[in-house]
């Protein structure tokens, strides 16, 4: 951050207390310094003033009328009374007005108990209504979209949701329609409210008008057990509250903080909580017997695992043992993992199990610095689907701070802010590098542009410019795994080499921790072939994923909110996790499994306190740079495949969360209208996407203007349609399947 110009302070007297605040401070913010609670509905620190609800009325001396604190800028010598009789009378009147048509169904309202309208009515309201007429009746449960339900009667039209949608996400789909007592929150007539941040509006809503479908009528706030922990659905590391009741995680709530989440949560982090008690979750170690799984005890499972490892080491040497995992483990577990296997002489350790190849940027920065950047360069897959809350920072930087957004590569940003989109590094406008503060967001997959720009970056550094990098990877703790040493060293082999070796039968035992290479590894064909040829695969997972098809032994692990430990977020900050949910009885955390394995193999492991200390102090070491790939061959006119990320794609927790049924992406191939026409397919057709002998079968065609011409976009990480059989950017052919007639008619285009 550059030094701020010195800000003039002004002195204001609030309720007899003299305060010095920077010039331009809003009265409502100034009053927070003395814990003076000025009630607000429409005002929100992150959304700014709107002046709609009028509840924040205060008395300011020398002003004839009551003023709203949320939109009044303090001036020198201002004398404010926030609790005078006149103020109270004003608030009482405002509340009476707000409550005119507000239904008194607090007993069944999801907000009841944590509702601002309730609280302020108790504090400032007049108690009984003077209205004799019936209240206006409106629809009670209007389905706004796949996640949100609106109760029109309860809405007090504070427009927090509308402004969130406008200011924060820039999506502008929510508006206020009509006027007077008829006005309601709505989207355009036929569009549902679809947003990756939709859950935030339920939290912003000061009344119970907007409610989450997943939490509707599940509980009352006072019944919930609340734990503050870190979200590990992606690498942003948002802090959040987990609310649990009777062993069910019922909802998550954002934490008001500026460091990581900025007070928001994405829908993946917020809503992917329904899998913990899924009946398909593994509850005891499973051993493969032909095509059947047999439940076995932990002692047998660990003994078998240890025996296989020992035999492999003694007969074919430690290089015939492979370990992949760490990106979903805690720092403690990742360290233990590499320590344990290194003690055995195994060097084939790697966390990379997907497309991402690097997790630690050369120059780290904080999210606040990202927000303050003047130019933001995004390379490869945009963060809107891999690290959504980070994307909000980018949107904020672009819209509120006037930063310039340049996206490089086949994908455009995917968010609704203004951007400069170029296909190649060479096309980046040269003035993009003129800014003082530059942020680089790199998907961590294909390092080619980084290599190309290496000299340029070094130059910028030398010029003393602020240059910060972010790698929003697909695995939440990839950076932690790197810092804990889960990388091949001393001649060890990385995932790709391990798979290559395994394909030739060179790997005897493969231990996988929370990874799903069959679905996620960049070279799906290689991964599948390798897994098929490996005689003994141990997989630590919550569910029987695509990779479990190849496993010999599946060990039930702990889920995200069942962990207690530390992770690193993508900026390198150590984040603390607290267990908020009790894991099923048969499951062990990865750490416990490793301790048991170490015991069975007679390996000494660090004490718990040493481990924690190690997890809190990430090692700073040079990391191998990402893979550099040759550009895929193919003429200009060829059809290329673009593999798209989606926050609700995946074969694990999302796939087994029945509440997310509506949000999960369908196997869809998106084409530009002209491309579709050239290929002779139309929306709703079923197609196969073929590259050589590999094929992605049975995709439903969608035609959209937003797609680029000459490309076909497919979604990564869908069980049943694993896009990783194709290489990103590869040249493909599309063949149309003759669909059974009813399919198209039934509107299979949905989603």
């Amino acid at each position: 951050m550059t030094t701020q110009p010195s800000v003039k302070t002004v002195t204001v007297t609030v309720d007899g207390v003299s305060l010095s605040v920077p010039e331009g401070t809003l009265l409502v913010e100034a009053a927070k310094q003395i814990q003076e609670d000025i009630p607000v509905y429409c005002y929100h620190t992150k959304l700014g003033p709107a002046g709609l609800c009028r509840i924040c009325l205060v008395e300011i001396e020398k002003m004839p009328k009551l003023q709203i604190a949320c939109n009044t800028v303090v001036t020198d010598g201002m004398v404010v009374h926030t609790a005078s009789d006149k103020t109270m009378e004003g608030r009482r009147a405002v509340l009476e007005f707000l409550l005119l048509n507000h239904p008194l169904d607090c007993p069944i309202c999801d907000k009841g108990g944590e509702c601002d309208l309730q609280d302020f009515s108790m504090a400032y309201g007049q108690g009984a209504s003077r209205k004799v007429e019936a209240k206006v009746a409106k629809p009670k449960a209007v389905d706004l979209g796949p996640t949100i339900v609106l109760d029109e009667e309860r809405c007090i039209v504070c427009q927090r949701c509308v402004r969130f949608d406008d200011i924060i996400t820039q999506e502008r789909s929510l508006v206020v329609k009509d006027r007077g007592h008829r006005d309601i929150i709505a989207t355009s007539t036929e569009e549902p409210y679809v947003s990756d941040f939709s859950g935030n509006v339920t939290e912003l809503c000061p009344v119970g008008a907007l409610t989450s479908k997943t939490y509707r009528f599940k509980s009352r706030p006072w019944d919930l057990n609340r734990t503050k922990t870190t979200c590990t659905q992606c690498s942003v590391g948002c802090q959040l509250y987990v609310d649990e009741r009777y062993g069910d995680v019922l909802r998550t709530m954002s934490v008001a903080e500026d460091e990581t989440s900025d007070g928001w949560l994405c829908d993946r982090g917020r809503y992917n909580i329904g899998f913990y008690n899924d009946p398909q979750r593994i509850a005891s170690p499973l051993l493969r017997r032909g095509d059947e799984w047999e439940q076995i005890g932990w002692d047998d499972a660990v003994a078998l695992w240890a025996r296989q490892i020992r035999e492999a080491r003694d007969t074919t040497g430690p290089e015939s043992i492979g370990v992949i995992g760490g990106g979903r483990l805690l720092n403690e577990e990742a360290f233990l993992l590499q320590h344990l296997f290194r003690s055995l002489g195994v060097e084939n350790l790697d966390w990379r199990a997907g497309r991402q190849t690097v997790a630690t940027p050369v120059f780290s920065g904080t999210y606040e610095e990202l927000e303050a950047a003047q130019t933001i360069l995004v390379f490869g897959v945009p963060p809107s689907q891999t690290a959504p809350v980070m994307d909000l920072r980018i949107r904020k930087a672009v819209v509120q701070r006037g930063a310039r957004l340049v996206t490089v590569g086949p994908h455009s940003s995917g968010s609704s802010v203004t951007e400069t989109h170029v296909r190649r590094v060479a096309d980046i406008p040269s003035d993009a590098f003129d800014a003082e503060r530059i942020a680089v967001v790199f998907d961590g997959i294909d390092a080619t542009p980084m290599r190309d720009l290496h000299e340029r970056f070094a130059e910028l550094k030398r010029a003393g410019k602020s240059l910060i990098g972010f790698i929003p990877g697909e695995q939440p703790n990839a950076r932690g795994a790197e810092a804990m040493g889960m990388l091949p060293r001393d001649g060890g082999r990385g995932t790709r080499e391990v798979f290559s070796a395994a394909k030739d039968g060179g790997i005897r035992v493969l231990s996988l921790f929370g990874v799903n290479p069959a679905l996620r590894f960049a070279d799906g064909a290689l991964a599948t072939a390798a897994l098929e040829r490996t005689p003994f695969i141990v997989l630590s997972e919550l569910f029987l994923t695509d990779t479990a098809r190849f496993a010999s032994l599946v060990l039930p692990a702990h889920g995200p909110f069942e962990r207690d430990g530390h992770v690193l977020d993508m900026t390198g900050r150590v984040q603390r996790l607290f267990a908020a949910h009790a894991a099923p009885g048969g499951a062990l955390s990865d750490g416990e499994m490793l301790v048991a394995l170490a015991d069975a193999l007679d390996i000494e492991i660090p004490s718990p306190s040493a481990l924690t200390a190690r997890a809190r102090a990430p090692e700073k070491r040079a990391m191998p740079r990402g893979e550099i790939r040759a550009a895929a061959p193919g003429g200009e006119a060829a059809l290329r495949v673009i593999i798209r990320s989606d926050i609700f794609a995946g074969g694990g927790t999302v796939y087994h969360d029945e509440r997310l049924e509506e949000l999960r992406p369908r196997p869809i191939a998106t084409l530009h209208p002209r491309t579709a026409q050239a290929l002779g397919v139309a929306a709703g057709d079923l197609v196969d996407v073929i590259a050589g002998d590999r094929a992605l079968r049975g995709l439903i065609v969608r035609v959209a203007d937003a797609a680029s011409e000459g490309t076909i976009r497919v979604v990564d990480g869908l069980p049943g349609a694993p896009a990783n059989v194709l290489f990103d950017g590869e040249e493909v052919q599309v063949t149309k399947l003759e669909p059974a007639a009813p399919l198209a008619a039934a509107g299979a285009v949905a989603g």
Binding site: P103, L104, D105, P107, I108, K135, A137, F217, S219, R220
Partner: protein, 199 residues
């Protein structure tokens, strides 16, 4: 010394007089199973969940009784009504409603807290059983039979949604609770029976 001995002796004699006197006092004991006492009209006994006269459950699953309960004896889990399966007026009903009668201290605060007069304490008090588990009363035992409903949901909209639960709370009255049961002597045995169910 002698005085103390005499005083002690007299005290003992006084004790003898007292105990002897009680021999002839009328005993207050009631031979309980064969003879039952009339209780006060608002005696706090076993709970019941009431319905409206149209058979809809009064309970809207708001969990206020649960939070009011000083003994943590109540568990309520709400769920949403659907048009096909309409349990209560309004949107929400209690999917689970359980009272642990062993924990319950019969203070009646649940009754006080209930905005719809759904949970009431009846004069029934005989609920002995051999298993602890059977003292957890769920909806199957708490809910009165459909024909046992009282009153109608006040201020209903065309399709049965209460316009204003606040109004319901204001109209709350314990009158029909006091008279909802016949708690009278029949010969020597007292019967506590839900009105309107017998015959």
């Amino acid at each position: 010394m002698l005085r103390a001995v005499i005083a002690g002796f007299v005290a003992i004699l006084a004790g003898f007089r007292t105990t002897f006197g009680y021999l002839f006092v009328k005993k207050p004991t009631i031979a309980y199973p064969s003879i039952k006492k009339q209780h006060a009209p608002r005696f706090h006994g076993l709970h019941e969940l009431r319905r409206y006269a149209d058979g809809k459950e009064r309970c809207i699953g708001c969990e206020l009784c649960q939070i009011a309960c000083p003994a943590n004896a109540i568990v309520v889990v709400g769920a949403e009504n659907t048009p096909a399966d309409r349990r209560s007026p309004g949107e929400r009903y209690a999917a689970r409603y359980e009272i642990d009668e062993l924990r319950c201290i019969f203070c009646g605060l649940c009754e006080e807290a209930c905005p719809t007069d759904a949970i009431v304490l009846t004069p029934r008090f005989e609920m002995s059983d051999y298993r602890r588990g059977s003292f957890v009363y769920a909806k199957d035992r708490l809910l009165v039979p459909p024909q046992g409903g009282v009153g109608s949901a006040p201020d209903e909209r065309p399709n049965g949604i209460p316009a204003d639960l606040g109004a319901v709370a204001q109209q709350k009255s314990t009158v029909d609770i006091a008279t909802g049961y016949d708690a009278t002597w029949y010969g020597r045995a007292l019967k506590t029976e839900r009105r309107g169910l017998a015959g």
